[in-house]
Symmetry: D2
Subunit: 364 residues, 4 copies
């Protein structure tokens, strides 16, 4: 189950401190321009060394394309991508092999498989998300070129802090994906203090897609929102996913929640762009909860593989807020769900003559 998607299928492999990580993208439409350099931007956005507030590991991730591309164009055959692990400091993880870190997958892998690769968290490390981002690059290209769809994400909350203003340009201009540049200094100070204290905070990431046409998504179990929920929940550290109004819908009245329709567009978007599991032509809106990282310098009670009581302390680098590198990952998962649904829709409904009316997106 290391494969994601039905028609555009991404299979990832690799451990945090093994020889390499990589993925195979199968079912990709032919004729997409693709070269190694295409991956640099999003991998850079995700990279842990981007700011001093994310893990200090120096990941010079260069993607090698092993197959599926001929003379700069995808051929329809599997695209294999490879990144060698160069900065794998296995020595940091010697003690971890004997202990279970609370809040991590150490214990559960141990119980499931009877064996685990403890080096850097092995397969359960967030290192795996590098390949989600890489695969997402291909999906984003196709969605943009063929449908003018754009998937974007930003940090909507760190701990209890929410931005006062919203500006897309800010999101891409500061290292925190934060929508208000004026607040960045203040938040950096907060994160510095947090790092100093040895503790961490959670974050909320909002991810949206504009330009998705009405009609994508498959009832009843392959609903667009159900697949987005699975895709986002499968990212390390995620504990919750909302579509549109999300949990706010609990306290809403039906007369408030339902989005009125007019020939000029929808009057609101509590649905988050999805009705009955199918896109409505509105903006797709999701919100994702990331837990605070559990690897802390602060000690915690645990158990070792012999069942003895131990105190676990994580030394070395760690992220005070893992959510800060999540926006490109969320965008990638959004894009991968969308391309897969687009292909499935074309498969089943490619014969359907365009129906009318075509209601504009309206209120985002």
């Amino acid at each position: 189950m290391n494969t994601f998607g039905h028609l555009l299928r991404v299979t990832t492999f690799g451990e945090s401190h093994g020889p390499a990580i990589g993925c195979v993208i199968d079912g990709c439409p032919p004729g997409i321009a693709l070269e190694s350099a295409d991956f640099a931007n999003d991998l850079g956005r995700r990279a842990s060394g981007r700011t001093r507030h994310t893990s200090q590991r120096h990941e010079e991730d260069t993607v090698e394309i092993l197959s599926g591309v001929y003379e700069g164009s995808t051929t329809g055959t599997p695209i294999a991508l490879l990144i060698r692990n160069v900065d794998a400091r296995s020595r940091d993880y010697a003690r971890i092999a004997e202990q279970f870190r609370p809040g991590h997958a150490d214990y559960t892998y141990w119980r499931k498989y009877g064996i685990r690769d403890p080096r850097g968290g092995g397969r359960s490390s967030a290192r795996e998300t590098t390949m989600r981002v890489a695969a997402g690059v291909v999906a984003k290209k196709w969605l943009a070129e063929r449908h003018h769809i754009q998937a974007r994400a930003f940090v909507a909350q760190i701990g209890e802090r929410k931005p006062a203003r919203f500006d897309w340009d800010a999101v891409e201009s500061n290292p925190l994906f934060w929508p208000d540049n004026d607040e960045v200094g203040e938040i950096e100070s907060m994160l510095d203090a947090l790092r100093k204290s040895g503790d961490s905070l959670g974050a909320r990431i909002d991810v949206i897609a504009d330009g998705v046409p009405a009609g994508w998504g498959e009832p009843v179990y392959g609903k667009l929102d159900a697949e987005l929920a699975a895709a986002l929940m499968s990212i390390n550290a995620v504990k919750g996913v909302e579509i549109g109004a999300g949990f706010d819908a609990v306290a809403q009245r039906g007369s408030e929640h339902r989005d009125a329709m007019t020939p000029q567009g929808f009057r609101s978007n509590h649905a988050g762009g999805i009705l009955g599991g199918i896109s409505s032509g509105q903006r797709i809106r999701c919100s994702v909860a990331f837990k605070p990282t559990s690897s802390l310098r602060l000690p915690v009670e645990s158990v070792d593989i012999e069942g003895n009581v131990v105190e676990v302390i994580t030394t070395g680098r760690h992220d005070p807020c893992v959510g800060l590198r999540a926006p490109p990952i969320c965008e990638a998962m959004m894009a991968l769900v969308l391309i897969d649904q687009a292909l499935r829709h074309r498969a089943q409904c490619g014969d359907v003559a365009p129906t009318r009316p075509d209601i504009p997106a309206g209120v985002e």
Copy 2:
């Protein structure tokens, strides 16, 4: 994509007001005692006629077992279940065929397929969930008999109202799945007023599973939490899913969120019983947001299939709070995810010798 699951696969079919609804359960382990009467309890719990606060349609749902059972026992071949639709008042839905109801799937089905069955919402009706509940009965039986696992759900919030106390016995003794019997009268009055006003409210449902052993779930894309998120999000009207602390994790510190481990058990359960996508042996805890129903007597602006502006009013029966029949559906989806993961775990890891230590569930 009307199939759910990988090894225990449920395929449902049927429209709200078509001849019948049904499902095929494939991959079921042989040797489970099963008869028609086994479905009565959970279908009754779900049935819309249970209280006056849910839709007044009189659904005398009797399940016929068409295959897969011989002399009262499952045989390992596909189990087909059938319910005839007897109370399909198609006359109520004549106007609906020409209009799009805001907040419903009318428009999106129309745009996707170029055709839709408007009778009672057709395939997008919550009627489909009857078959999820029926399939869930089989899953629950196996989980209980083989692993002593119990999946249960309750209404944790209606609108802004939360229960003051929690009592499992109350949940099953009042018609609202409400955890505090003393408050039931008050809430019924609230719902009566709501129905009178023609409006509706959302609800939060919590669903839990006790007894799940450590080790179930498949990293990286088939994570137990990712599949629960998809399963629950695929239920009609759901807008959000949380595992464990959910969105509360955003404002938590890492030192608070991570669940300390001791030989006597976990000290807390912010993880919701899942670490790295694999069960930890703790209680599995999910929370689900149901939107308020959009079919209201209150008029709303919309568009017809010619693109003209229209005013939509839903007459006839409707639920002031659809979440009130959701607990058995949530339990069923939880059970279906668990049995599927159990079978997948046995497939891959059936050779693994039991590992130690085995940390008790501890704090729920």
Copy 3:
């Protein structure tokens, strides 16, 4: 694993002498005209009562459409089909419950599931193929309407007997699907003698599809020929499948086998219309070996469920040559593979601009 196909998925259910058999067709394109009467022709062609040479069971199979069709048109939602079993003479099968019939699945089901439904062979009965034929009707309609593709099959050999001449009109005009009407009387005499002797014979069925465009099929594991092989081998009693030259290719020279290409068409068709797993635009040609039925009046040595030596004799009706009802089943499996591959091709390669040259089919 009672589901066939990736995008157009058919799930069948039902036992030979249970309450009913049926199927769910999921992923069907919307907008295909469909009614109950559409199934009559192919089910009639398959029906065992067609000639006196196939089993005498009187199967008045009327298909009920339970879902997925609205006002005579498919809607894109699952199409459920149901046939009640009316002529289930369970009394014939009392002894069978205690014995294993050699050449049947009795022993293997018993060993796999620990339980089996012995009535009429239960799930392993050829009765299941009724639903393949029914699902094939839908596939054939789409292939014919959308691509002018026709899938046809005939009996190419019974025992050692092969037809002297070939005439498509003959195939559909005699009850044996035999390509030479002049020989039908003689073969009927042969079959009468065979039935009288209590024995049976095998048959070879050839199945072809005309009109398949170049480009369908998915390398490397979803090859068109690989999926045809699986589809045909999954039919009861099949022991071998050939594509094009098949086993004759073993003794061929490369210079003879390879099909020369000209702008006017291929000069031969040893490939059977498939190169590298992808259709070439030529006729698709398969040949299928059906074993002789094992249910005979002639006694055979066997074992009962206690391990005792027994002599098994099958009384009642039986087919002296099961292959004689196989042509419609082979056509259905061919059609189901083709529609599925057509949808998958459209999904991945719907963007591909038509390439040239387009070489005609040429020699069949």
Copy 4:
């Protein structure tokens, strides 16, 4: 569709003359001892340089394990294998880019994808089968260690030549996988003459598995024989697959074909070890037809990408009989089907108490 299997899933990637070929094996049971050297034997058996009768390309294939193995043992996470292409003489293939080679996938890839990698046949090259063999090594290890199952194959026919005697030891001691060592010299002379003439011949490969317990395989569409048929037909150049008696069953009487059962074992094995799609405990027997290679020094009529008539001649190395390197590939596909079915059987039927009687394999 570059993935094979349901629970033990192998995804291969790579073009003949691209940077590398590789695969990802997902779902592998943990705890299997595995190191790079384990692949050498079977890859060597397959390697084209093994005898002078197969292609002269010098493939020093060394497999690098990129993931999924920790301290010499599989961990249950995806196992990625990589082989760099070192001997890719792209210069040989310049003209091929403009022409379609009859009997090859050139034309069909072109029509499907609108683009193709012509270097050495790209993805459609038999080079891909290297990775099937590598993945098969892992499957074989598990089958042998856990179930004492052995999958073996041999060359049963070259052109019209069949071996006079059968000896397993001979198969592995001569470079032709030929069952009679005394004939090897003669066959080598025949192949030398064939190579000199510029032509090629087909071959028949028999592949068997001993030790498979009764009960593996899934009716109705996931039948063990159906999956073997697909697996073997998916190998390059295969045109036919038989199980047990195969096409000989056409001319058999039922009284001859059905395999009588006794407490001491089956009296014959016309079924090839599979009844109703489920293993019977007998030897699994398949026979596979390989066509003669189409890349010949002898000219053939064809068409170029502009639609012009051209004469195609293949210069450089080629195999006079591609079937001669097929035995390890057939074994690998057999092993991959068996492990996948074994895991699926354990998933669904792991609860089933062992049933009696257990009939020995008897006659092979």
